[in-house]
């Protein structure tokens, strides 16, 4: 019984201690991932942009990213999504 309480206390403490660290890591980097959620988020960002060169670039990069995703080239997809994100932040 004492061992059971002790082990629960240890694991409980470890879990609580690691929570802020994992939370911080998860929020450290906001890079877009090549998946449907990331694609939708980028499209929402682009919709909010004023018409112009940056928006055209972002749309073009997203089109390439979508093509790469269809070809299952996730690395290239992520690169083009990143390019699109940079264009939205100009």
């Amino acid at each position: 019984m004492v061992r059971w309480i002790f082990s629960n206390l240890v694991f409980g403490t470890l879990a609580l201690a690691s929570f802020p660290a994992s939370f911080a890591v998860a929020h450290e980097d906001h890079h877009m991932e090549c998946n449907e959620t990331g694609m939708n988020a980028m499209h929402a960002d682009i919709q909010a942009m004023d018409d112009g060169e940056a928006k055209t670039t972002a749309l073009k990069e997203m089109q390439i990213a979508e093509d790469m995703m269809a070809k299952k080239d996730m690395k290239a997809c992520a690169t083009h999504m990143h390019n699109a994100m940079e264009a939205t932040e100009k």
Binding site: H27, H30, T37, A41, H43, Q47, A48
Partner: protein, 203 residues
Amino acid sequence: MSDLAASRMGMRWLIVTLAAGALLIAVVAAGLVYMGSFDVAADKPHSQPVFWLMDTVRERSVAVRAAGIAVPGDLADAKRIASGAAQYDEMCSLCHLAPGMKRTEISRGLYPRAPELRRKSELTPAEQFWVVKHGLKMTGMPAWGVTHDDELLWDVVAFLRKLPDLTAEQYQTLVKSAPKSHDEMMHEMMMDDGHGHDDQPKQ
């Protein structure tokens, strides 16, 4: 059949056809609503035509309602701008960001996206005041007029006119130079009018 009778018959058919068409559209629309066909998820953007429609409705609604608002002549006043900066930093920057500020989690998740106000706005000062005071339905923009009086909101507008010209350092300096903190301003406002603004002209 006389021409008059034929014309009446034609008119009656037209009315019946239009009524039946309208009824059919209403039934289909009700069915779509009931079946939950419209996806309200904020992580799925509207199609371009829907986005355009919502955007245009919002733009026109604000323009028409802001048309009669009298803009104070002292929006360039340094004290007003500094006061607006403190309020902006407290109330707006989380969603609308600020010079030198990285995008926040809330700014990434809002739909439609809250505009980054450090970029030049096409809204007039009267339109900005109206939006800040009344908020915008289905955007996440709150009606600050519920808790703030018009003077404080004009301070925010004064700051918004200045915001696109500011660097990150200038922004921070301006926020720190505010004559009072946001909480002090709110307290003073409450003391001044017992949080009633009913005696002020509605804008």
